[in-house]
């Protein structure tokens, strides 16, 4: 199946709408732009500048990744003093206080998922740019995985915001967000935008009926 010719939309003069998924016929003319007859959205055979946009958001994510993990994301203050917590520190704290299952969940959401997304999208963007035909089906599955797990990294942002809102007992105990949280939230948003910018159809470069 993988090597045989599969007709794609462009071969048949068809085009699918990204928004409403209607399949329409694209007139064969020089006009560069066509709109979906059902929803009016601009039709593209491929998202414009997909690889460049993906790489730009990935670069943003990589740059912010270090401050996100090195800077503290919150400070707890109590009568006993102040203490800063990083993302990794929070995971270790959960691990040592006995909730190991939750520690594993937070590790996956905060450390593993962002790294997976950055690595996977870099691979997808570069292989798409080289019009690679290497393991196309697996790459398509990898993209779907990235899309599915993407937003779970927001977990630690919610945890800190909730702790700030829950623990406010004046001088006795309080929690403040720190700069690391801003960087961490930005990494999550940047990787989500990178994955939204990538067009999975680029995994399948146009072959044409004659290979």
């Amino acid at each position: 199946m993988s090597r045989s010719y599969v007709p794609v939309a462009a071969d048949l003069g068809l085009i699918g709408c990204e928004v409403c998924a209607l399949v329409s016929r694209r007139p064969r003319s020089e006009a560069a732009k066509w709109l979906c007859p059902r929803c009016g959205h601009a039709l593209h055979l491929r998202k414009p500048d997909s690889v460049q946009r993906t790489l730009a958001w990935l670069l943003t994510a990589v740059v912010l990744y270090l401050p996100a993990n090195l800077l503290p994301v919150m400070t707890t203050a109590s009568v006993l003093g102040r203490e800063s917590h990083t993302i990794v520190g929070g995971i270790l704290e959960l691990w040592t206080t006995g909730s190991r299952e939750l520690a594993i969940i937070v590790f996956i959401a905060s450390i593993a998922v962002p790294l997976l997304k950055i690595a996977a999208l870099t691979l997808l963007a570069f292989s798409a740019q080289r019009r690679s035909q290497w393991r196309q089906r697996d790459r398509a599955a990898l993209y779907r995985l990235v899309e599915t797990v993407g937003h779970w990294s927001m977990l630690d942002v919610f945890v800190v915001v909730l702790l700030v809102g829950m623990v406010h007992f004046g001088v006795v105990a309080s929690v403040r967000p720190e700069a690391g949280l801003l960087a961490f939230g930005a990494v999550v948003v940047a990787t989500m935008l990178a994955s939204a910018s990538f067009d999975p159809r680029l995994i399948w470069p146009q072959q044409g009926p004659h290979g």
Binding site: P7, L14, K33, W34, R38, F158, G185
Partner: protein, 240 residues
Amino acid sequence: MGMVPLDAESLPAPHGRYMLCEECDAVYPARPIGRDDLLRCRRCGAVLARGHGLPLDGQLALTLGALVVFLIGSLSPIVTLELQGIHSQATLLEATRETWRTGAHVVATLSFLTAFVFPLLVIALRLWVLVPLVMRRPVLFLAPVMRLLRWVLRWSMVEVFMLGVLIAVVRSAGVTHVVLGAGIFAYMGLTVLLTAIHAAGLQALWAQAVPKRRGVRVARPPRPRGRPLWSAARRARGAP
């Protein structure tokens, strides 16, 4: 269940209808989708179409339920904490306001949008489309509403927020005494309802809102910009 893509011999007649794989552009002949069908693309494995057992009025009922649960969840306290006789209650909105007050405006806005505004929009926009459809009336602003709905679905993070509550409770349990409030249970219900509604997809709404036509419609060129409409119309009629 896989589907065999078209080949050169089995191209449908000019008035046949097609299905496209959204992730690799492979073309398939359109076919009716049964209730429990799950059609996958033979080439890339993406889901082509999913039969959904939920009719429109069922979707409307679930969405109205989600609205009620959402309001309970966001207005009632998620947890109550007690420390040395002081009680502290927190709702989602209070938590984001408190975060805003500490100066972390971006983070406060981000969590306010993804845990409150976007889930509310998901529910409100679905109702905007579903209510007229069930009443068999035309939907106003269908295309922009559906486009916004599609965008907002990606950024609504109710289920992540719910897990966040759980972890925040465990982490503060060492310091204080924590009692779960009605809010957390409402959010659990909301997660389930939104997942069920989400499974129905957006395709059924499009299909119901815009009546099907025979054959394949033709893409239209954009309206010329910068020139008033009437002059384009005059030109089309052959006026100077």
